[in-house]
Amino acid sequence: MSDSKLTRRELLKKAGIGAAAVGVSGAAAPFSFAGPMKFKNRHLKGDLSIIQWVHFVPAYDDWFDNTWVKQWGEKNDVQVKVEHINNTLLDTRAAAEVAAQSGHDLFFNLHPMASYEDQVINHAPIIQEIQRKVGPYGDLGKKSTYNPKTKKYFAVSDNYVPDPVVWRRDLWNGIGEAPYTWDHVRKAAPKLKAIGHPIGIGQSQELDSNMALLAFMMCFGSFVQNAANRPTLNTKATIDAVKFMSEIYKSEDAAIFGWNPASNNNYLYAGTASMILNAISATRTPEDQHLPFADDLAIWPIPIGPHGRLGLEHVMGCYSIWKFAQNKENAQQFLVDLCVNYKQATDASKLYNFPSFPGAYPFKQIRKTAAADTHKPRGKYTILTTIAEKYTHNIGYPGTTNAAMDEVFSKYLIPQMFAQVSQGKMSAADSVKSINAQVKDIYAKWKARGKI
């Protein structure tokens, strides 16, 4: 028996041969990877390289890569190359491209990159061209990509994503509640936790927590800045909001302090969460995977607070063209054509993306498409149009999205402000005061740079 055993020496020999085989095949790798030219034997006008996220709705990427880009490239005789990366890596990639002064012709991000204003072209001519074809830029898009101080458009937003409340009707009905106001949420939270289904609003350094908490603050009349882009965080309304959320947290799971952008979704998909704030990918996945509670997932606008019902976009799709881009003209034309034909994109995204130029796909038409969605409860997506039209604001509302706000957002100061109170590390007043000091420093820095 022992003769048939693989000795260590034999194993090493075989492993060596295997490693050599991998090495030899890999050595040829860089030379064999290049695929054939897209339009063989044609003289191309140029190239266009695009980098963007891996869309939450796979059907969108399928449409974008295999239909839209292909058709656009053939029509304009341009070789288009699209790279997709995970959304959390876009900022790192942008920083690297700026540092190298080299990169893609079109850079897509999920938030307006206001802090890179000096690195990008003025996108005003592109926006004017789109407006000429489909009507005015939506207010949300304009306030997200225009710097009134420098009179420069630092990006073009092709889309935004509404951020509804996703909640389990079966669980909420079971305790005789519904998340209509934040007061209802606070009262329902302990009961929901008692039945093993807490609500899931993150207080972590990640996108979903940032969006949920900023929107929550707005419902309490608390804003990071005013309409003139001056910091206004240190108010009684902010302290009240922070205290209120720490009350809600008492009925949440401590895991919310370590959440990532997938955590609230996973919490919902596991059947645990009774309510989260998230885009409709949170309902589409249970539908696609036929999860047992998929039909009980309802969509509502953000609950009403003392100041009213004020929500944010969940993500803001923005394309920027670097000053160092090699193919600016192709990039501009691509953007114009994409925004003008955005109906196809919205449909391909299963109503995830809403057009930033509303004339490209009027709300009335989107509402009709949403109403035709057959998922139960039937018509649940109709409200999405109302949310998009009435309750969706830009980051930095009532001001514009600017470099200072972008930095506050990117440093996750707002989740930090909430978390240190919920965790009992600070009082609400102290937490607001300490974060406000950092916010004021950031605003002073960008003011000195002439950007706000």
């Binding site: 891996v54 690297a96 996973n266």
Partner: protein
């Protein structure tokens, strides 16, 4: 209970919890990789589910998984070769020829290993793009990775070479070997544990590296495993957990086998410089 049995029982009592803690992630990874995607989120299907190979099929038929593996292997092997080519003579020189200066330089070289890639990736982006013109090519990684593998390898080999008695080399020199000859014929053969440790450790570092890989490579055809998996198997807030687990499990198995095969030499390599 006899003393031997008691000794054995204590050894097991100490070892088993460690084994469970360390092996459980791999076990969980394997279990999840065979689950249908819809059942991953179903708390009633944690252990009772219908195993499927669909996730492996998805990897091989609907993603560029084989290409990611090939790219990672290619970069790994090239970096191992470069690292050995530089670290072997450098480690030897610092151990043998420079005395106190060598020790100080050794510490200095090791300190460069401690500078994190998160600080270096921005300036290196410019170097790779503007000076080397290697953006979006696997060679950008092959050029950059030795910046953190070589310092560690030099430090490790330096410690190892110090354990080899000087008399052995002197004897070789007396017998007519040149210094290079003594190095190749005497020192390197008895340094195999140290060299193997460098090979395995360097390869593991390279295969696991993420920041440079995501920064310098953007095209799908040049992605390595660490970039390909989060790009193609995580769609924003939707994780393809079974696919991810399968994608990680596959390269884990040969790496675990190699570690196991060389375990004794690996330990000898790491501890070689620790005792004199």
């Amino acid at each position: 209970m006899t003393s031997a049995r008691r000794h054995k029982a204590v050894a097991y009592a100490v070892t088993i919890p460690f084994v469970i803690v360390l092996a459980f992630p791999f076990f969980w990874m394997a279990v999840t990789s065979f689950k249908p995607e819809a059942q991953v989120y179903d708390p009633t299907k944690v252990w009772s589910f219908h195993p499927t190979l669909a996730n492996y099929g998805f990897l091989f038929h609907h993603t560029d998984y084989v290409r990611w593996l090939r790219n990672s292997s290619f970069v790994g092997l090239m970096v191992v070769l470069i690292t050995l080519a530089v670290a072997l003579p450098a480690g030897y020189a610092l151990a043998r020829l420079s005395g106190r200066v060598g020790r100080s330089m050794g510490v200095g070289i090791f300190l460069t290993y401690l500078v994190p890639p998160t600080l270096l990736f921005l300036p290196l982006s410019r170097v790779i793009s503007q000076y080397f013109h290697l953006s979006d090519r696997l060679w950008s990684l092959i050029v950059v990775y030795p910046s953190f593998t070589i310092p560690f390898a030099i430090w490790l080999l330096m410690g190892f070479f110090k354990t080899i008695p000087q008399e052995l080399e002197d004897a070789a020199l007396i017998d007519g070997c040149s210094r290079l000859g003594a190095l190749v014929r005497v020192v390197f053969p008895i340094s195999i544990p140290g060299i193997l440790t460098v090979v395995i450790f360097t390869f593991s570092l390279v295969v696991n590296e993420f920041v440079y890989a995501i920064t310098f490579i953007s095209s799908a055809e040049n992605r390595t495993l660490t970039v390909g998996v989060p790009t193609d198997l995580i769609r924003g807030d939707l994780f393809n957990w079974p696919g991810i687990m399968a994608a990680i499990l596959i390269p884990s198995i040969p790496l675990a086998l190699v570690y196991n095969a060389f375990l004794n030499r690996f330990i000898a390599g790491f501890t070689g410089g620790a005792f004199r």
